[in-house]
């Protein structure tokens, strides 16, 4: 009985008693969710256009951020370093298309999945070899991002909002909107959607698969760079950050592999659910449940919708 009370009543009592804490927790969950959504977005872009489940997305994020910070530390001005990092992501996209995707075209999905594992290892090794393995600080001010916090007095308490978090939310929204326009309105965006629908049909109307793949991986690289800057600003830039990409996987299955809105909604659900669960229910079992709670949430949704919330309906034929 006491246990039932602790699980079903007590957390809500706490929420009611300290609404400012609840708002603070919700806000942190929201920001975390937006950042998860950004990583998931990179996965979705690549999965849609090439059917590759890109495990390397997380390490691409770290690699992009590391390139930026590494160049900045070597004395390159921040805006130039940003441009150079984008250039590096373009070269990476070219390389991946040429070396990995082209020889492996039409192989089973799991082979391509494994290939991105190989890519992950190479990027980890190369990143550490060039820039060193120790954590680096993101030059927040030099990139023109705000620092500090805004304290709001609401609900009889203080709620502190980090400015960088607000900036992250805004940048994420702009990026998602931009991608939506890019996909719906531009010529290349339509070609991308055609490739996503059917590789062969797209080839037959004169769309170059190779070019499209480079574009998609480059786009995913830019998304990775933006995500890396945001995460890097919240903590240091190091290879420990790639763990976060594992957190983005439940977001992905929750929203569906092929849906951009799914990535956003999934990210928010996971981000908020995770923070609320950890804060209000975590102490019951000794804390630290953040590591698997996201997966449990996603699994619960999947049992009812096996293709995710917004995924394409799975139609199987014999």
């Amino acid at each position: 009985m006491h246990l039932l009370y602790q699980i079903f009543i007590d957390p809500f009592m706490q929420m009611g008693q300290a609404p400012d804490l609840l708002v603070q927790t919700l806000w942190e969950g929201l920001v975390g969710g937006v950042l998860y959504a950004l990583i998931a977005l990179g996965f979705v872009l690549i999965f849609k256009a090439s059917g590759v489940f890109n495990f390397a997305q997380g390490i691409m994020m770290v690699f992009a951020a590391l390139t930026l910070v590494g160049l900045y530390e070597k004395g390159v001005p921040a805006p130039l370093a940003l441009l150079l990092a984008i250039g590096v992501m373009y070269l990476l996209a070219l390389g991946v298309e040429r070396v990995v995707l082209r020889p492996l075209v039409n192989q089973p999905d799991i082979m391509l999945f494994m290939a991105t594992f190989g890519l992950t290892y190479i990027l980890i090794g190369a990143g550490q070899l060039v820039f060193g393995g120790d954590p680096k600080e993101m030059p927040v001010a030099a990139l023109g991002l705000p620092k500090g916090a805004i304290d709001l007095k609401i609900l009889g308490g203080l709620v502190s909002l980090q400015k960088i978090d607000i900036a992250a939310a805004i940048i994420a929204s702009i990026m998602v909107a931009g991608l939506a326009v890019f996909f719906q309105k531009t010529r290349i965006g339509r070609a991308l959607r055609a490739v996503a629908d059917d590789h062969q049909a797209a080839l037959s109307v004169g769309i170059s698969l190779n070019q499209i793949w480079v574009i998609v991986w480059f786009t995913a690289g830019i998304v990775a760079l933006a995500t890396g800057i945001m995460w890097g600003a919240r903590s240091d830039v190091s290879f420990a950050l790639q763990v976060i990409s594992l957190k983005a996987l439940p977001v992905l299955i929750l929203g569906g592999f092929t849906s951009v809105p799914g990535a956003i909604v999934g990210g928010l659900i996971i981000g908020i659910g995770e923070k609320l669960g950890e804060f209000y229910w975590g102490p019951l079992v000794g804390g630290g449940i953040e590591s698997w709670l996201a997966y449990a949430i996603a699994l619960a949704f999947l049992l009812f919708k096996p293709e995710g919330l917004f995924g394409e309906k799975i139609i199987e034929r014999i």
Partner: protein, 358 residues
């Protein structure tokens, strides 16, 4: 010419259904077993046995388990490392609760514990497929790993949080703990691995294995042909986690001697996945090839620069290991997507038709 089955007539159904119907295969197997049981202990030093052969056999056993799940039944799992952990912790718990019982019994029993946990986490596979399932199995990985850290009962509330293996004997000879000789441990591991490989081979060549392969190729079609998906998929999860559990128990008790929860983290699961894919999906011998390549490769990369007279820092060497491992994974996937087992098949065909090209 070297590998010709012409003239080997089968005169009974039993002979026709044998796992090794060809004489050369039987001779080859006998040779391999002879080398493993007699040759390697004779020529191999302590390092060879303790740091190369035992890990190789343990990892190969886990890879066989994963191969049953991925290669034979087509269910992708990223939680093998955690199931190995379940085996290890179960064995530790059982052997400290009942120290008088023979340790071999507990190693097998811990496989059964892991088997039960595996079935539990295999349940979603009935509704979820493909990469969705792969990520869902990560839930098992993270949840179980969290249990290894947070549930003190599992490691007897040991302040270090690690599990340490006490001394156990078999026929009066110590086989686990600090005083056990590598050679004894090697023989125990080798015997268990050989028996379990033989068992797996019978399983996948029989009716159950055929069911699994039908499910792998297309589960709806298999269902229409009268294969019940629920038992088939859950059995695959059960057998796979049994193998992983035994491998985990062997890893801690006969290879490492002590383990922390970190030993069963997600990287372990990924490494096992590499072994299965590079060795060859749906091939038992592939599991051994994959384990050999993935386990021995880093050792070679680490020792090669010294052997060549180059001196590079240990950090640089580690980074290079990453790059080389990643590059080799890509190389093998591109050159031979069907894995090393396929190379072995090609070699057998070449031997069969030699000296003619085809």
């Amino acid at each position: 010419m070297f590998y010709r089955e012409v003239g080997q007539f089968k005169t009974s159904y039993a002979a026709d259904q044998a796992i090794f119907p060809i004489r050369q295969d039987r001779i080859g197997l006998a040779l391999i077993l002879a080398v493993a049981f007699i040759g390697i202990p004779l020529v191999g030093g302590e390092f060879m046995i303790a740091s190369v052969m035992i890990p190789f056999l343990v990892l190969a056993l886990a890879a066989i388990g994963l191969n049953i799940l991925i290669g034979y039944t087509g269910l992708i799992s990223l939680g093998t490392g955690a199931f190995m952990g379940v085996g290890a912790y179960a064995c530790y718990k059982l052997s400290t609760l009942f120290p008088q019982v023979n340790i071999i019994v507990w190693i097998i029993a811990s496989g059964l514990v892991s088997c039960a946990v595996g079935v539990l986490f295999g349940l979603p596979s009935l509704r979820i497929k493909g990469f969705y399932l792969a990520i869902a199995t990560l839930a098992a990985q993270f949840f179980l790993q969290w249990c290894f850290v947070r549930v003190g009962w599992l490691y007897n509330n040991n302040p270090s949080g690690a599990i340490e293996v006490p001394l156990h004997t078999l026929f009066g000879i110590p086989i686990t703990g600090a005083t056990a000789k590598p050679l004894t441990r090697y023989y125990v591991v080798l015997t268990i691995v050989v028996v379990m490989t033989w068992f797996a081979s019978n399983l996948v060549h029989g009716r159950i294995g055929r069911n699994w392969m039908a499910v792998r190729d297309m589960d709806i079609a298999a269902q229409l042909m009268g294969i019940r998906l629920l038992p088939a998929k859950l059995l695959a999860f059960a057998v796979s986690s049994f193998y992983a559990g035994v491998a985990g128990a062997l890893m801690v008790f006969l290879w490492l001697g002590a383990a922390e929860p970190e030993a069963f983290n997600i990287n372990e699961s990924f490494v096992l996945l590499f072994m299965v894919i590079i060795g060859g999906l749906g091939s038992l011998i592939g599991a051994f090839f994959g384990a050999a390549l993935i386990h021995i490769l880093p050792i070679i990369v680490r020792t090669a620069p010294d052997a060549l007279g180059l001196s590079i820092g240990s950090a640089t060497a580690e980074h290079l290991t990453y790059i080389i491992t990643g590059g080799l994974i890509l190389f093998f996937l591109i050159v031979e997507p069907h894995g090393l087992a396929r190379l072995w098949q090609i070699a057998k065909q070449k031997l069969r038709v030699w000296p003619f090209p085809y």
